[in-house]
Structures are given as structure tokens and as C-alpha cells.
């Protein structure tokens, strides 16, 4: 049962990811990204990380992709240009794929992961446990994230100010 679920979800996710990459229309791509995230959330659930799945949907699918869609529509592009596969791109793609496959193969053959059996119990997804970790072991990164968010906010404010007069870029 789990295997079936896993297979379905992974195929779905991959197909949607390919859809993001290959779609001509940016809005279509954003939609595909949304579905892809849904698939990932499903996989998280299968990994017993329920809270994370929820947060993923909330933050990523709800905020990030929505923001993407806003901007796509703001910029109001007249359709995308058809994507023509060019030589360098194909070569790069092949290289990337080859890397990936050989890497994973090595991992499977030489790594020790083949012997790892899935553990019986799962850590669970209690918020209490996460927050305990966040505020003790990972306190410093939390503070850094705070600063990061502050800076990001400031950056966005600065960037989105309309310039005095947009001079001719050329």
C-alpha cells in the first residue's frame, strides 16, 4: 500500500515538475508548481512529517506560489516564447542527467544506505518537539532567520520604490 502511494505520488510530482519546466505559459507553470508542491506534501505525510506537510502547503503553495502568480500577472507578458531546445541546453541536460544517475548508482552500490532499514517508530510531528528543538539546539539559526526576514523586508521596500524617473536604459 505504501509503496503504491509512494509510486503514485512520486510520478505525479515528477510529471508536474516537468510541466513547470516545459510549459510555455508562465501561469501554467505556476499552476504546475502548485500541484507539484501538493505532491511533495503528500510525500511528507507518508514520511510521517504531518506538520511539515501542512506548513509546506501553507507557506509555499499558499504564499510563495501566490506571489509568483501575482507578479506574472502584474508583468502581463504576452504569452511566452516557444521554448526551443538549443544545443547547449541539451548537452547540459544530458550531462546533468548522467551525473545524477551515476551518482545515485554509486550511492546505491557503495553507500551504506542499502542496509538501512526504516525505523519502526517515527518521531512524530508534535509541534512541541519541534519548538523545543528550535529554541534550544537551533536558537542561533532562529535569530539569524529573524534578521534575514527583517533585511528581506527592508530590501523589498527599497527595491519597490519607484525611481525618480526611469532614464533610458540604453
Amino acid at each position: 500500500m505504501e509503496q503504491f502511494a509512494f509510486t503514485t505520488l512520486s510520478v505525479f510530482t515528477l510529471v508536474c515538475a516537468l510541466g513547470v519546466v516545459l510549459s510555455k505559459n508562465a501561469v501554467n507553470g505556476a499552476m504546475c508548481l502548485l500541484l507539484c508542491l501538493a505532491g511533495i506534501a503528500g510525500l511528507f505525510v507518508q514520511l510521517h512529517a504531518y506538520l511539515l506537510a501542512f506548513i509546506l502547503i501553507l507557506v509555499y503553495a499558499g504564499a510563495v506560489v501566490a506571489l509568483f502568480l501575482f507578479i506574472v500577472m502584474l508583468l502581463d507578458m504576452q504569452g511566452g516564447q516557444p521554448w526551443r531546445p538549443r544545443g547547449a541546453g541539451i548537452v547540459a541536460g544530458i550531462i546533468a542527467a548522467a551525473l545524477l544517475i551515476t551518482g545515485l548508482d554509486l550511492l546505491a552500490v557503495r553507500g551504506r544506505l542499502a542496509d538501512t532499514a526504516p525505523l519502526g517508530h517515527s518521531v512524530g510531528s508534535s509541534l512541541k518537539l519541534y519548538s523545543y528543538e528550535l529554541f534550544t539546539t537551533y536558537l542561533l539559526p532562529v535569530q539569524v532567520m529573524g534578521f534575514l526576514l527583517l533585511i528581506a523586508m527592508l530590501g523589498v521596500i527599497v527595491l519597490s520604490r519607484r525611481m525618480a524617473e526611469p532614464e533610458d536604459p540604453r
Binding site: 547547449a88 550531462i95 546533468a96 551525473l99 551518482g103
Partner: protein
């Protein structure tokens, strides 16, 4: 003051004078000349005080040290140095005083007196040096001073060329000198002149002959012996007092002095070579002097000839004879040059003897002092030259009859050309406007002449020299018995033959009698004189110039082109290559990123 301090003062005072003149008195020629003359007087006084006071010492201080090799600076003040220092002091003072009058109207008087001071410093350095490295340093300084002073009237191309020629020819000799010094240091472990006596154990036969010959190369250059004598006649482009001081009495005598200093290193085969070089030089120069028109050139060739005598005397084994002749020669040759300077200035800087004449009545003091000098050099009995030349002839007669014959022949020629000069310049009627209005110069021109004439007259009597110089002068050969008679007869015959022939042969009508009567001989002698210059010209133009052009080609193509511009080109290409990475297109950057990932992966997987 202790003797060492006096010696130090005598050495440094001219340097100080030169520095003061150069730094502060460039626009104040009168003050510069005063400073220089006073310094020369102090140096002469100091030198005499040291020499006659009987102080003899040898001190040295270490100057540079590289591991086990050290260069020292020091003084070695023995009888030889004392005699030379007195000669240098006296002649220097006379020339300084004479220059006050001779260079009175010159536009660059300060520079001239600065140059004279530097020369005095360098020459005294050679005299007092106690090791060959120090002597070499001052040797080069003297060469520089000579270059500087020959080139005094530097607007004239001939003067600039002559100065260059003097320096370069000296450099050739100095190369051999330096090789000799290095070889000496290498075999003996020291170049200290006092240390030679003890450690002269050059067991290697080749070195023991090579070292003195290489060191002699320095003397060949500096004292204008064959084949490096070509610079001295050209050096007459300098002012006459300079010629008197440097190119007659002191600098060119430095070569002889150096030979006397390294006497302990000499071996018979080397000395044979030295003797013959000197003899042949003497003969060659005498032959060249016969055809000269320029009064200073005659005296220049005469100097070369007399230096040949001194070198021959040394080569025959007697330091005393060489130094004695050096001393007397300094007196009468300086007198000859200063007298000719007086004549030149009186005739408004005319140097052609065929445009002078009749100066006997118009410049009596110059005439009589010049006569004394001519008599001295020709070997008239009882004057200085007679005794010193006889000493050399005695030495030659006892050791090497062939050399004796050649030297005697040279003596005939000496008398011949000197009397020719004397007659044409002073006797007869005035042959030019300038000569008609010639008159005696002021006290600064005449006082040195009188002093030097006195010294030329009495300088031959060794008994009159202070006891202080006994270390040198006691080794002058004295003839006795049959040798005495032969040598005396020879010198008298030589004198009468040469002088008589000259007086009879040459006329005072303004033409060269030899040229008139036998142009072939005159032509032969002229081409003999020019032969060395022609040969050197050929060598420089054909051989050296071609080598220089090859090197130039190498420099332009290989060094400047391939190496320098090549490296620059490589840098440029590298820069171009790196610059082309900046396409501005995001996708390209991401491809490079992918490339980086591949490499990292390869590292991680152990493939790389």
C-alpha cells in the same frame, strides 16, 4: 699631528676642495681657484713634511667584508711613496699656480679647478695605497679625472672624442690589471703590498709569470706603452696645464710607480717582456715625434718615449733607475709643457710650431727655461736628464746590449726632435701675426717655470736629495770603470749627433725640412704614427660593430620582443580569455555553475 693624520689630511684635503668647489663655488671661479691652489700648497707642504720628517709607516683598516674576503684601505708610506708624493706635490703646486694665469679667461674655471682637485685626490690615493684593490679604485678615479679634464672644453667634438678614447683605452689596460689582481688574490691569498714579500710563494710557474704580466697590462694602459699608446697624443685636447700635470708628470707615471710597488712579484721572463715593450715603445714614439707640427703632440710623443725608457729600466731590473728617471722626467717634462703653455697663450692659442718663431727675443724667460728643459731631456751633461738617462743606459749596457743599442738610437732621435722643436719655435723670425706680438705672461705663468727649471738643472745630483729617499735612490746603478767610459761616450755622441743634425737640418722658414727633402721618409713616419689608429679603427668598425649589431638584434628580437612583449601578450590573451566569460547572459553563468558542480562531484566521488 701624527704622520698618519697628516697622510690622511693630504689624501682627503683635495677631495674636500673638490666637494666644496662643486657644491658651492660653481659660480665663483675666483674663489674656486683660490681654494684649489691653497689646497695644492697644503698638500705639497704636507707631503714634504711627511717625507722629510722621516716618518715611515703602514696602517690599514678593513672596509668591506664578504665572508672570508675583505677589502682594506690603508697607507703604505715608505721611501718610494715619499719620493712619489713629493714629486706629485711639487708638480701639482706648479701646475695649479700656472693654471691661475693660463685659465684666467676661461668660462668654466670652477669646473676645471674642481677637476684638478679630484685628480690630486686620486693620484695621492694611488701613491699612498697599500693594497692592490685600493690602488685599483684610485686608478679608476685617476682615469675618470683624466677624462673629465681632457673634456674640459666640451663644446669641441675632438675633445669629447679624445676623452672617450683615453678612457676606453685605459679600460682595456685596466681589464688586464683587474685580472692580474684577481689572480694574485687567488694564488697568494692577499693583495697587500707589504704581505707579498712574505708570502710570495706562487709555486705555480704559469701564475708566477702571468700575474706580473697581467698587472703590467695596467701600466701599459695608464703609461701609454705599445700597443695602448694611442690615447696620449689625443689627450692633448685638454688644457695645457692638464697635459703637464696628468699626461706628463704624474698620472702616466702611476704605471711606473705601480710596477715599482709590485717589484717583489716580478720574475725574469716577465721582466724581459716588460723591458722589450718599454724599449720598442721608446723607439716608436720617438719616430712618431719627428713629424709632428703641433707643439703639444711633439711633447706627448716625447712623453711616451720617455715612459718607455722608464719601463725598460724597470724591466732591466732596477727600481731606482726607473724612479730616478721618473723624477727628473717629471721636472723637465712639466717644464716643457708649461713652457709650451706660456708660448701658446702668448701666440693667442696657436699650437702649430710653423706659425711661431722668433720668440727668443720676445719671451726671454720662457725661452731660457725651455732651453734648460730641452737640454735636460736631450741629455746635456750636468743637467738632470743626463744623469738619469745615463743610469738607464748603464743598466742596459750591463744587462742587455740589444736594448742598449735601441735605447741609444732612441736617444739620438730624442735629441733630434727636441732640438727641432726648440729651433722652430724660438729661433728665426716670427712667422705669424700672433708670434710678432707675443709677450711674456704674468707672474703666475713664469714662477712655476723658474722653479721647475731650477729643479731640472739640479735634479740630477743624487747627493742633493734628502736622506729620506735613500731607499729608492740608492739603488740607482752607478757605472764604473770601462762601463762608465762607454756609456759616457755614447751619451755624448748621441747628444751631438742628434742635436747637431737637427740644428743643421731644419730651417726656420716655416716649412718642415724633412717633408721637403725626402717626402718618402716623412710619409713613412707619418703612416707609422697612424698605423695603430688605423688598425683600431678597423677592428672597431668591422669586428666590434658587427658583434654589437648581433647583440642588438638579439636584444630587440629575443629580449624585447619574445620575452617582454611575449609575456605581455600572454597576459593579454589570458585577460581576453577571462573577459570573454562575461557574456552577461544568465544561462551561460548557470552552465559554468554546472561545470563547477561536475568538478565537485568528481572530487567527492574520488574520480579526480
Amino acid at each position: 699631528m701624527t704622520p698618519l693624520q697628516t697622510a690622511l689630511f693630504v689624501l682627503i684635503a683635495p677631495l674636500g676642495s673638490a666637494a666644496v668647489i662643486t657644491l658651492f663655488l660653481g659660480r665663483r671661479p675666483a674663489l674656486a681657484s683660490a681654494v684649489s691652489v691653497i689646497t695644492a700648497a697644503l698638500v705639497a707642504a704636507g707631503g714634504f713634511w711627511l717625507a722629510l720628517g722621516g716618518a715611515r709607516f703602514a696602517e690599514s683598516a678593513e672596509w668591506l667584508r664578504f665572508g672570508t674576503f675583505s677589502v682594506e684601505l690603508g697607507f703604505k708610506f715608505d721611501d718610494l711613496a715619499a719620493l712619489m708624493l713629493c714629486v706629485v706635490g711639487v708638480i701639482g703646486l706648479c701646475v695649479h699656480v700656472f693654471s691661475l694665469g693660463y685659465m684666467h679667461d676661461d668660462s668654466a674655471k670652477s669646473r676645471y679647478f674642481g677637476g684638478l682637485s679630484i685628480f690630486m685626490f686620486s693620484m695621492i690615493g694611488i701613491v699612498l695605497a697599500d693594497n692592490l684593490f685600493m690602488m685599483f679604485i684610485f686608478w679608476e678615479l685617476v682615469g675618470f679625472s683624466s677624462y673629465f679634464l681632457i673634456n674640459h672644453w666640451n663644446a669641441r667634438k675632438s675633445a669629447a672624442d679624445a676623452a672617450k678614447k683615453a678612457f676606453i683605452v685605459n679600460r682595456v689596460g685596466d681589464f688586464g690589471f683587474l685580472l692580474g689582481i684577481i689572480l694574485c688574490y687567488w694564488t697568494n691569498g692577499t693583495v697587500n703590498l707589504s704581505a707579498f714579500g712574505e708570502s710570495h710563494a706562487a709555486a705555480h710557474v704559469v701564475y708566477s709569470r702571468l700575474i706580473p704580466l697581467l698587472l703590467f697590462c695596467g701600466a701599459v694602459g695608464k703609461s701609454a706603452q705599445l700597443p695602448l699608446q694611442v690615447w696620449l697624443p689625443d689627450a692633448m685636447e685638454g688644457p695645457t696645464p692638464v697635459s703637464a700635470l696628468i699626461h706628463a708628470a704624474t698620472m702616466v707615471a702611476a704605471g711606473i710607480y705601480m710596477l715599482c710597488r709590485i717589484n717583489v712579484l716580478m720574475v725574469p721572463p716577465a721582466m724581459g717582456v716588460i723591458a722589450w715593450v718599454g724599449t720598442l715603445t721608446a723607439l716608436y714614439a720617438a719616430l712618431c715625434a719627428v713629424t709632428q707640427r703641433d707643439i703639444k703632440k711633439v711633447l706627448a710623443y716625447s712623453t711616451v718615449s720617455q715612459l718607455g725608457y722608464m719601463v725598460a729600466a724597470f724591466g732591466l731590473g732596477s727600481v731606482g733607475a726607473a724612479m730616478f728617471h721618473l723624477t727628473t722626467h717629471a721636472f723637465f717634462k712639466a717644464l716643457l709643457f708649461l713652457g709650451s703653455g706660456s708660448v701658446i697663450v702668448a701666440c693667442h692659442h696657436e699650437q702649430d710650431i710653423f706659425r711661431m718663431g722668433g720668440l727668443r727675443g720676445r719671451m726671454p724667460l720662457t725661452f731660457w727655461t725651455f732651453t734648460v728643459a730641452v737640454a735636460a731631456i736631450a741629455g746635456v751633461p750636468f743637467l738632470a736628464g743626463f744623469f738619469s738617462k745615463d743610469a738607464i743606459l748603464t743598466l742596459a749596457f750591463e744587462n742587455n746590449p740589444a736594448v742598449f743599442a735601441v735605447l741609444a738610437l732612441t736617444a739620438i732621435l730624442t735629441a733630434f726632435y727636441m732640438l727641432r722643436l726648440w729651433k722652430i719655435v724660438f729661433l728665426g723670425a716670427a712667422r705669424s701675426e700672433a708670434a710678432e706680438h707675443a709677450h711674456e705672461g704674468g707672474i703666475s705663468l713664469t714662477a712655476p717655470l723658474v722653479l721647475l727649471a731650477a729643479l731640472s738643472a739640479i735634479g740630477g745630483y743624487r747627493g742633493l736629495y734628502p736622506r729620506s729617499f735613500d731607499g729608492v735612490l740608492s739603488t740607482v746603478p752607478e757605472a764604473s770603470g770601462s762601463t762608465f767610459a762607454v756609456v759616457l761616450a755614447t751619451s755624448l755622441v748621441v747628444l751631438l749627433a742628434g742635436a747637431g743634425t737637427a740644428l743643421a737640418f731644419y730651417s726656420t722658414d716655416g716649412t718642415d725640412a724633412l717633408d721637403q727633402r725626402s717626402p718618402s721618409v716623412f710619409g713613412f713616419l707619418s703612416s707609422l704614427r697612424a698605423s695603430f689608429d688605423v688598425a683600431y679603427d678597423y677592428y672597431v668598425a668591422k669586428v666590434q660593430q658587427r658583434v654589437a649589431m648581433v647583440l642588438n638584434f638579439l636584444d630587440i628580437v629575443v629580449l624585447a620582443g619574445a620575452v617582454v612583449r611575449g609575456l605581455a601578450g600572454v597576459a593579454e590573451i589570458a585577460g581576453f580569455g577571462v573577459r570573454s566569460l562575461h557574456t552577461g547572459r544568465l544561462s551561460n553563468y548557470v552552465y559554468w555553475f554546472l561545470g563547477g558542480v561536475v568538478i565537485l562531484w568528481a572530487f567527492a566521488a574520488g574520480v579526480l
